[in-house]
């Protein structure tokens, strides 16, 4: 059995990226699927995702409470309504890619379908004990920024995906995939060496470093979250611009979080409603939401870190 997002599940094949869990009640199961299970008869396509080149990289099909997730070059996943995720690897892909899609796409989306709030965000716990998250679309710098903090002594909660619990008194966050994934330029700029990093897919130049919670590299328990920073699109930022942090309030904050929330079926009303309520509960006086605007120049990362930490020092009620 394995542990992810503070949840225990069992899996028919090894998941070396994750910590193993002692015997506990499992929340869901992962199996290698019978090809007959992936017969699309009766399923209707609900959503498609395209990359920047216009290529369809994934689509979702639904039949009542069952889902088929198809990654055309890599794998298919069947998600049943009783918590069983079945996997079918494409002949031309790799087990490593299957695991990557399972841990970073399917499991987060499945957990979101159960009513949990899962966000596309990185997060760290700073040396002063405060935890912050960085939220935004792929490519805006979440992983690089979190890695920069981690290199500087922070504990990495996640580099890409967090589960948020909007508790009564405190919002907490815990990560899923326990690792760092960076493109070579960011990797070299932040770590100055590539020892421990490995390629995990032939379709990307990114390399990953798996962190271990028994080594204290990733937290094994949820952390109280103090602030969320929404990363600005760097498209119009001049390289010489100052780092700028501004509060984001009300509807703008809520819409930004809604946009970054995972779902198994983006059109499913129950999930839309769950995310709406959970996000509304999470945005409170105890969780600050800020926009973070900075030039995407690696040499400026220390300045960004300092600005975030300075902001936290001034927000005494966070």
């Amino acid at each position: 059995m394995y542990r992810i997002f503070d949840t225990t599940f069992d899996c028919e094949f090894p998941l070396p990226e994750l910590p193993e869990s002692p015997g506990e009640d499992v929340s869901f199961s992962v199996k290698l699927g019978d090809p007959d299970l992936f017969d699309a008869a009766g399923f209707e396509k609900t959503f498609e995702w395209f990359n920047y080149s216009g290529e369809c990289v994934c689509w979702c099909e639904r039949r009542a409470d069952e889902y088929l997730y198809v990654f055309p070059r890599h794998a298919r996943f069947h998600v049943s309504n009783d918590g069983v995720i079945s996997c079918l690897l494409h002949a031309d892909s790799s087990v490593q890619m299957l695991r990557y899609l399972l841990l970073n796409q399917i499991i987060p989306r499945y957990l979101a379908s159960t009513g949990l709030l899962v966000l596309h965000a990185s997060a760290v716990t700073l040396e002063n004990g405060r935890s912050v998250a960085f939220m935004g679309n792929s490519g805006l710098g979440k992983s690089t920024l979190a890695s920069s903090f981690h290199r500087d002594g922070a504990l990495l909660i996640s580099d890409d995906c967090i589960l948020l619990d909007p508790g009564e008194n405190q919002v907490t966050a815990i990560g899923g995939f326990p690792g760092i994934r960076l493109f070579p330029d960011s990797l070299n700029a932040v770590f100055h060496e590539t020892a421990g990093f490995t390629h995990y897919t032939p379709y990307s130049d990114k390399q990953q470093l798996i962190l271990k919670n028994e080594a204290g590299e990733v937290p094994s328990e949820p952390r109280a979250l103090n602030a969320i920073f929404l990363l600005d699109d760097p498209g119009e930022i001049e390289q010489g611009e100052a780092v700028c942090i501004e509060p984001v309030t009300g509807s703008a904050a809520m819409m930004a979080m809604i946009y970054c929330a995972f779902s198994l079926d983006p059109s499913d009303r129950q999930t839309i409603a769950h995310n709406f309520r959970n996000i509304g509960q999470a945005i409170s006086e105890r969780l600050g939401i800020f926009s973070l605007r900075y030039p995407r120049v690696h040499d400026r990362l220390p300045e960004v870190r300092a600005a975030v930490q300075a902001l936290l020092m001034t927000q005494i009620h966070f």
Binding site: G250, S251, M255, I258, A273, F276, I283
Partner: protein
């Protein structure tokens, strides 16, 4: 995904003081820092209300009549009654047009 900002267009809609509105069962609302986000599950649309719109929405949730809402708001905001009637009327028109509320018969 877009947020539709209500309360930004003047419509010539007239209501009676005793008129009451029903909020659609398909609408979820969430107040955040003085503003309100509305989610219309039927249309899969989000709407935003500013501070005054939030106050009007709170009064609708209490099933206040139009007249009762205007009386309450008159005591809370330093604007003329005529301005208030115009602005609240416009908002109610927008909410109705969007299918978020209906005039109760």
């Amino acid at each position: 995904m877009t947020l539709n900002l209500l309360f930004d267009k003047i419509l010539n809609m007239n209501y009676q003081a005793h008129d009451r509105f029903s909020i659609s069962s398909e609408v979820l609302s969430q107040e955040v820092n003085g503003e309100t986000v509305l989610l219309d599950l039927e249309g899969e649309c989000y709407f935003g209300l500013n501070e005054v719109g939030t106050r009007v929405w709170q009064l609708l949730q209490c099933e206040s009549s139009v007249g009762e809402a205007l009386d309450t708001l008159s005591g809370e905001y330093d604007v003329s009654r005529a301005q208030l009637e115009s602005d609240v009327g416009a908002l109610l028109g927008k909410l109705t047009e969007a299918g978020l509320v209906t005039l109760a018969s």
